[in-house]
Subunit: 260 residues, 2 copies
């Protein structure tokens, strides 16, 4: 039987709140099985862009990563946030290794091509270097990946942290029984978006299809859940979605939505 | 016989100049024996502090690393510069792993204590985790260390890159025949600071003592050279000091000052 490994995406609301992040990492440090952390930058990069007077371009509601914005996200994600997480985890007894996708070529991506829209330096994941992650994990260290990747030609790329988490989970599923955990500001997948008590505890593919057909599942959740089922089809044991403050309960299947 | 390994400190003048940095990394990528890169942030962190309106405090000519300044150096060194170096090296055929001292606890430091002066978040190196560096090097990857360390209690610290280079060189000397290379803007240790032709090609301890007693060696070079001899006393095979643009010639003992 394979050992359990948790791939944990830290929600943006946690990154934005230093005391919440500390509490979250204290919980993470109690996990006795191997884990991998994935994070973006919450609102810190946006605040930095404002301070530096770098205008943020939105096209069709999507943020464009121009060169100055790429430099900001690289500084904030791979520098400020990543190194503070790693240093904090060490103080809690866990040796971590903070990585961008360029380090050890751990997440190779390609610049997004879109017929009408130039997203700028945005990358879509091509390949995860599971061997390098395993090297770290087998040394009892925990990889902490930020949402910066590279294209193998010297170009860093801004990449969706949810997608990196999914691809990392899939890449490790051959070697571990992988549980992929998305933490965010809600208690789980809600049947009624205004009612925090309406958490769906277990969600199978056929139930999900029914809920979507009934229009019961909130539209913003659909890409997240589509990705979750893709991860399961690719070998991930389960995907859990829940509130960051309830990480322990999510790990123990007492809170959140478990997708199987 | 042990294999040669080069520990190369990139000078601030190279970091400040993107085309010079690219050329430098192209040269580095041609090295066939293992290497470790160490870098600080040149003037980029200072420029960022000006842009962000963070006043830089100088006490007795020393820059104080207050909390906002620590955040800036963490962003610039561990994020922007480190990840761009790693990504560029990969495009040149070398898999690198960018690290702060917190990653894998690779450089543990302690906050500097001074009887009258508070340097802020400045760290002095306590211990280098050679095992973690060896793990990376033995996988044919190259560690790229920035001048950020940590104190094991969750605090990141700004640390002198020259000192990190020296301590890393010493820590690896048990396993490799280590050559420690400091690149900067001069052709080497000059007997006459105004004459670039006055490079001392080979410098032994007794010659150095004589030069210092004669007042021939420039005062700014003395701490650098004291450290170089300390490294040699601790097992490093040689220390080379020279112009960044002449890295290949320095490696081949055709340029720069070689301290033995």
């Amino acid at each position: 039987m394979k050992q359990t490994l948790n791939v944990i995406k830290i929600g943006g609301n946690v990154i934005d709140n230093p005391s919440m992040l500390n509490t979250f990492l204290e919980t993470v440090a109690q996990i006795r099985t191997p884990f991998v952390i994935i994070h973006g930058g919450g609102k810190i990069a946006t605040q930095m862009a404002i301070k530096l007077d770098i205008p943020q371009t939105l096209i069709e509601g999507r943020r464009i990563t121009d060169k100055p914005t790429l430099d900001i996200v690289t500084m904030v994600y791979a520098g400020l946030i990543n190194k503070n997480i790693v240093s904090k985890l060490y103080s809690l007894g866990k040796t971590a290794v903070g990585l961008s996708g360029a380090d050890g070529n751990v997440v190779l991506a390609s610049k997004r091509v879109h017929p009408t829209l130039d997203y700028g330096y945005v990358g879509d994941v091509e390949k995860v270097n599971a061997q390098f992650l395993l090297l770290i994990i087998e040394e009892q260290m925990s990889p902490v990946l930020c949402a910066i990747t590279h294209d193998a030609n010297g170009q860093l790329l801004n990449t969706n942290a949810d997608t990196i988490a999914q691809e990392v989970a899939v890449a490790l599923a051959e070697h571990y029984e992988v549980s992929l955990i998305y933490t965010f500001e809600k208690r789980g997948v809600l049947l009624d978006v205004n009612n925090e008590e309406s958490v769906i505890k277990i969600l199978t593919k056929s139930e999900y299809t029914n809920f979507v057909n009934q229009g019961a599942i909130h539209s913003g959740m659909i890409p997240k859940l589509d990705n979750a089922f893709k991860a399961i089809d690719a070998g991930v044991s389960n995907v859990k979605i829940g509130k960051a403050e309830q990480l322990i309960e999510i790990l123990n299947d007492e809170e959140g939505t478990k997708i199987i």
